[in-house]
């Protein structure tokens, strides 16, 4: 005896999945925008905590803290957000000083990433203050939570 099975609503489910597939990159980019903003703010607030001392060349074999001028350059540059790269449903960006440009320091033109790197990783003549790593550690959880919130709200709106 032949059986007939009817499942209601499958077409709606298929349509919804199709819609989600099309909308996913947009939702991901929107969430990433929110997360990247939080990370950039975290870097800026961590940079405000850099300890400084008036500039003095480090004595032989000793280190010096960053000068207020160097800190000001970092604060003025603030962390940039790279262009979003879309790859299917994946969206990537990075937050940092890679393309921050150049600044004038003691009459010389210095690349800003070099100043950031010297403060963040330290050198043989500058004591290190890893403010970017600190920002990544403290801002990461906040950024992930904010991104999840955006995605949940967007997907809820789509499924209604």
């Amino acid at each position: 005896m032949p059986y007939e099975v009817n499942v209601d609503g499958m077409r709606e489910v298929a349509e919804l999945l199709d819609k989600l597939d099309k909308e996913a990159p947009r939702v991901a980019a929107q969430a990433l925008y929110e997360g990247a903003g939080i990370m950039a703010d975290a870097v800026k607030s961590a940079a405000e905590g850099i300890r400084t001392a008036p500039f003095k060349y480090a004595a032989r074999g000793q280190t010096r803290p960053p000068s207020p001028e160097e800190k000001e350059i970092v604060l003025q540059a603030s962390a940039g957000i790279a262009r979003f790269e879309k790859n299917g449903v994946e969206v990537n960006t990075s937050v940092g000083f890679r393309n921050a440009g150049y600044a004038e320091l003691k009459g010389k033109t210095v690349p800003i990433p070099v100043i950031v790197n010297a403060i963040n990783s330290g050198t043989s003549f500058m004591s290190k203050q890893p403010f970017v790593r600190k920002a990544a550690s403290s801002g990461g959880k906040q950024a992930i939570a904010a991104m999840s919130k955006v995605m949940e709200a967007e997907f809820e709106a789509l499924t209604k």
Binding site: N117, S121, S124
Partner: protein, 127 residues
């Protein structure tokens, strides 16, 4: 101070590289290292207390000769592996044009778990 960090400092000081915590007053000639605890990177909270705390720190190695690179890096990485297991990574390698020093920087994570309080013997129990 997390005991794992103290163990790492002690182990690094036993290597052939002179190591100091939080920088040198006057750095030695040749290769040298600096180890420091940078910040608290996370914690597991419960019962209104921090049950576990994790800290992030860094090891910096400065060396003048590129030919020493492999031996020095191996020595630091073996120490990190012995004390921190897999909770470390090489964060950057740099070259200082002004001083001619090479610089390698590792980031490690250490845990600080408060030791359990010894349980009080039950009333009336024999000791």
């Amino acid at each position: 101070m997390p005991s794992e960090y103290e163990a790492l400092v002690a182990a690094l000081k036993l290597t052939s590289i002179p190591f100091a915590e939080y920088g040198w007053k006057t750095r030695p000639e040749g290769a040298y290292g600096v180890v420091q605890l940078d910040f608290e990177s996370g914690s597991l909270d419960g019962d209104g207390t921090k049950l576990d705390r994790s800290w992030e720190g860094s090891v910096d190695l400065f060396y003048p000769k590129l030919s020493d690179r492999e031996d020095l890096i191996d020595e630091v990485e073996e120490t990190l592996e012995t004390v921190c297991g897999s909770s470390w990574y090489l964060n950057s390698t740099q070259y200082e044009t002004g001083t001619g020093l090479f610089h390698a920087e590792w980031v490690f994570q250490v845990m600080d778990t408060p030791e359990d309080e010894p349980e009080e013997p039950a009333a009336g129990s024999e000791t």
